[in-house]
Structure formats: structure tokens, C-alpha cells
């Protein structure tokens, strides 16, 4: 059943999108409307359906305003759910976002606000960014910051409402190295403060490692209140010919929970004609376990201060291969329709998570965009 806050977000998003659209129609501004649907299903009995609607308008020559409304409908009977003695869970998340970009000569200022709600989680977030183009646009420096405040609850238990604050800052540099090569690098700092555990996740001590099964003591997980994250990225894209290009990217991540990760991605794009783009892509991610994570917790005389059964904190390898196709149709009178689709298969391998060695997933995205 949809919550009252979900209905409010839906009405708010539709009203905002309608207002933006009407204003654009009256002022004959440039308008971009897009709708996207993302579907993911995996071998761990989890399905996600995420429709998304976005309207962009340019009410003034250098001003762009966008409204986004998105929904996640999530249904799962995963090992995590079953380990909590529950059969299947279905939840819905609604999100609305508003952003504005203002260009002042070679500087672009951006601001964004978003609100997300679900039955047991509420989040308000905002961000600001500055882009500074140098050398006739061959070099772009960017700086951004964001902050959010979440309230974590537990469905059916209104007494639980824990706060979580996130703060982030990012610096990046994009550079055209030559007429065929683009390169960028960046650093992102993230600080999370507050409740970062799940009120649904239980850790058994002295059991078989599968939640509370056979455990002598069973407690909800407990992790530190503070987490400081660092991410360094490098990306490059080079044209191989007039119609093909290759892209490479790498991210190194480390945090003060001793989790370190390497993420690499590569893509090959081809322009078969003036209206289409076909891309093949690969992504690989590997991470070490957080220092507080154990696949099993023995029942000793003293229970550790922090303990978790969160598989995202375990050592993990993820592989994804995907294909994208984008086709633009010219409808005349300066109107274009772009249809895009993406399909990917992903494999998650868990080396030290009791009850699950791997998950295979299929992801499909379809998008339609109209430019007026």
C-alpha cells in the first residue's frame, strides 16, 4: 500500500513538472522531456523496477531548470530477507529532485535539491557545483559540495527514527589533451555521521553465520557512527577513427573502515550513421572487506563493539558487461525524438558471505527523450 508521503511526492512531482512544462510552452523555451524505465532482476530473488521522468527547460538563454521524479519498486526474497525469518518484502521509494544551472560567461553555477521517501527511510539532500572553463573550454575545473540528512526507521515500529548526515566535496579537472583525446581526474571526500546500520539485519554469535539460525546470541548489527570515504578517479576517452572511440576509467576508493576498492571500466563506441550510437562496455569492481566484518562471529566472553552481516562490507568482486544503443529521429520543426536502450549482465562474487557465493543479474533500461 502506498504511504501518504509517497502520494504527496507524486502529486508534488507531477505539479512541478506540469508547471515547468507550461511555463516553457508559454515562453517558447527549449524543452527536453525524457522518461526512463530501469528493470533489474537477479538470482537472489530480487527485482527492481524504476520508472523515471525528467523535464528540462531553458527559460532564459543561460539558465536551465530541471525537475526529476523517480520511483523504485523493490521486491525481494533474498538470503538477507530469509535470514531474518521473513518471506518476501515489497517496498516503494519516491524521489523528487529540482536543479538549476546558471551560466555566467565561462562559469556555470549549479544547485540541486532532492527529497526521497519510503516507508522506513526519508532523505533530504542538496548540492552546489561550480564549473570553470579555461583555455577556450579545453580545460574545465569543477568543484562541488553536497549534504543530506536522512531519517532511518523500521517499518511497523514508529519508535525507531535514527539520523544520518552525509557531507561530500569533489574536485575534478577535465582536459582536452589533443584533438582526439579527453582526460579527466578527480577526488571526492565523503563523510557519513550517524546511524549507518540496518535495523533489519541481525548478527548471530556462535551460530552458523546465517543470521540468527543456531546462534546462541543474536543482535541487530552495530557499526561505527562515523565513516570517512576517499575516492580518486581517472578517465580518458580517445577517438580511434571518425566513427569509433574507446574509453577507460579507474577509481581507487578507501575509507576509515579499512575497506579499499578498485573499479575499472572500459567502453567502445561506434557511430554507424549520423543518428545512431552503439556502445559496448565492461566494468570490474573488487573490494576488500571492512575491518569490522566477519563471515562468522564466534561466541566469546566479550562481544565485539562493532559487528555486521552486511555483504556490501565483505570482500566482493563485481563484473558487468553491457551494450547501449541510441537512435535520434528528426521529427521536423526543430523537434527530435531520441530512443535509447541499455542491457547488461552482472556477476557478484562473495568470497566470505555465508549463504551466498554469487549473484547473477540482468539489467535493462529503456529511455525516450523529446527535444522541442
Amino acid at each position: 500500500m502506498r504511504s501518504r508521503s509517497s502520494r504527496r511526492v507524486t502529486h508534488l512531482a507531477c505539479s512541478a513538472a506540469l508547471l515547468v512544462w507550461l511555463h516553457a510552452s508559454v515562453s517558447t523555451a527549449d524543452v527536453i522531456g525524457s522518461t526512463t524505465a530501469y528493470v533489474r532482476t537477479d538470482s537472489d530473488h530480487t527485482t527492481v523496477i524504476s520508472p523515471r521522468l525528467r523535464v528540462d527547460v531553458t527559460p532564459l538563454a543561460d539558465t536551465r531548470v530541471a525537475v526529476v521524479y523517480a520511483v523504485d519498486v523493490w521486491s525481494s526474497a533474498s538470503i538477507d530477507i530469509r535470514a531474518s525469518a521473513t518471506q518476501r518484502v515489497t517496498e516503494r521509494r519516491d524521489e523528487i529532485g529540482v536543479s538549476i544551472d546558471q551560466t555566467l560567461s565561462n562559469i556555470t553555477l549549479s544547485g540541486r535539491y532532492r527529497f526521497s521517501t519510503e516507508v522506513d527511510y526519508t532523505s533530504h539532500g542538496g548540492s552546489g557545483a561550480l564549473r570553470y572553463a579555461l583555455a577556450d573550454g579545453a580545460t574545465v575545473l569543477s568543484a562541488s559540495g553536497d549534504a543530506s540528512r536522512d531519517v532511518v526507521g523500521r517499518a511497523g515500529d514508529p519508535s525507531i527514527a535514527r539520523g544520518l548526515q552525509r557531507y561530500g566535496a569533489r574536485l575534478s579537472l577535465e582536459q582536452a589533451l589533443d584533438p582526439n583525446t579527453l582526460m579527466s581526474g578527480g577526488y571526492e571526500l565523503g563523510v557519513l555521521s550517524g546511524y549507518q546500520a540496518s535495523p533489519y539485519r541481525f548478527v548471530g554469535f556462535g551460530g552458523d553465520g546465517l543470521g540468527c539460525q543456531g546462534a546462541l546470541v543474536c543482535l541487530t548489527e552495530h557499526v561505527p557512527d562515523l565513516r570517512v570515504r576517499h575516492a580518486f578517479t581517472l578517465q580518458a576517452r580517445r577517438a580511434l577513427s571518425r566513427v569509433t572511440s574507446i574509453g577507460l576509467g579507474y577509481r581507487f576508493y578507501v575509507d576509515d573502515w579499512a575497506l579499499a576498492a578498485h573499479t575499472m571500466h572500459a567502453s567502445l563506441a561506434w557511430l554507424p550513421d549520423h543518428h545512431s550510437t552503439l556502445s559496448l562496455r565492461l566494468r570490474a569492481h573488487t573490494q576488500s572487506a571492512a575491518s569490522l566484518y566477519r563471515s562468522r562471529y564466534a561466541l566469546t566472553q566479550q562481544i565485539p563493539v562493532h559487528y555486521s552481516r552486511d555483504r556490501e562490507l565483505s570482500s566482493l568482486v563485481t563484473l558487468r558487461a553491457g551494450i547501449d544503443y541510441v537512435r535520434t529521429f528528426d521529427l521536423g520543426a526543430d523537434v527530435t525524438l531520441t530512443l535509447s536502450s541499455a542491457a547488461a549482465v552482472a556477476l557478484y562474487r562473495y568470497a566470505e558471505f555465508v549463504g551466498l557465493n554469487q549473484v547473477r543479474a540482468l539489467e535493462v533500461t529503456a529511455m525516450a527523450e523529446v527535444r522541442l
Partner: protein, 70 residues
């Protein structure tokens, strides 16, 4: 090894800082495949999934909002 490669690539990027590639020379860089137009809205779903299924976040991902712990 990985750190060395990362530092080498970073030095290449910094050594080219503010290098001038004139606008008329950037025609190829502006084509659809170079701007990776298929990312953005088309990849939001996958990025959201990565943010919640992996322990690492930042740099490559979109700003996350809400739990959506799918």
C-alpha cells in the same frame, strides 16, 4: 603497481593542464560517442544499484538519495 599506474596517469593529466586545443580542433571531441551521451539518465539505475550493492561510493556515481536498498 596500481598506485604507480594511477600516479603516472595523473602526472600526464596535470602536465597537460591548460594545454590549448583550439575550439575548431575539437570537432571530433564533440561527437556523440566522445561525450558519452548514453550515460546520464540511461545509467542512473545501474549507478544507483552499484552505490547500494558495493561498499565503495564516490567519484563515478550519482549522488545517492534515500535508502532504496535494493
Amino acid at each position: 603497481m596500481t598506485r604507480s599506474v594511477f600516479v603516472a596517469l595523473l602526472l600526464i593529466l596535470l602536465s597537460h593542464g591548460c594545454a590549448t586545443v583550439a575550439p575548431y580542433q575539437r570537432e571530433r571531441l564533440a561527437q556523440r560517442d566522445m561525450t558519452d551521451a548514453a550515460s546520464g539518465e540511461l545509467r542512473v539505475g545501474e549507478a544507483h544499484t552499484d552505490a547500494y550493492r558495493e561498499g565503495a561510493h564516490g567519484g563515478l556515481d550519482t549522488t545517492i538519495g534515500g535508502c532504496g536498498c535494493n
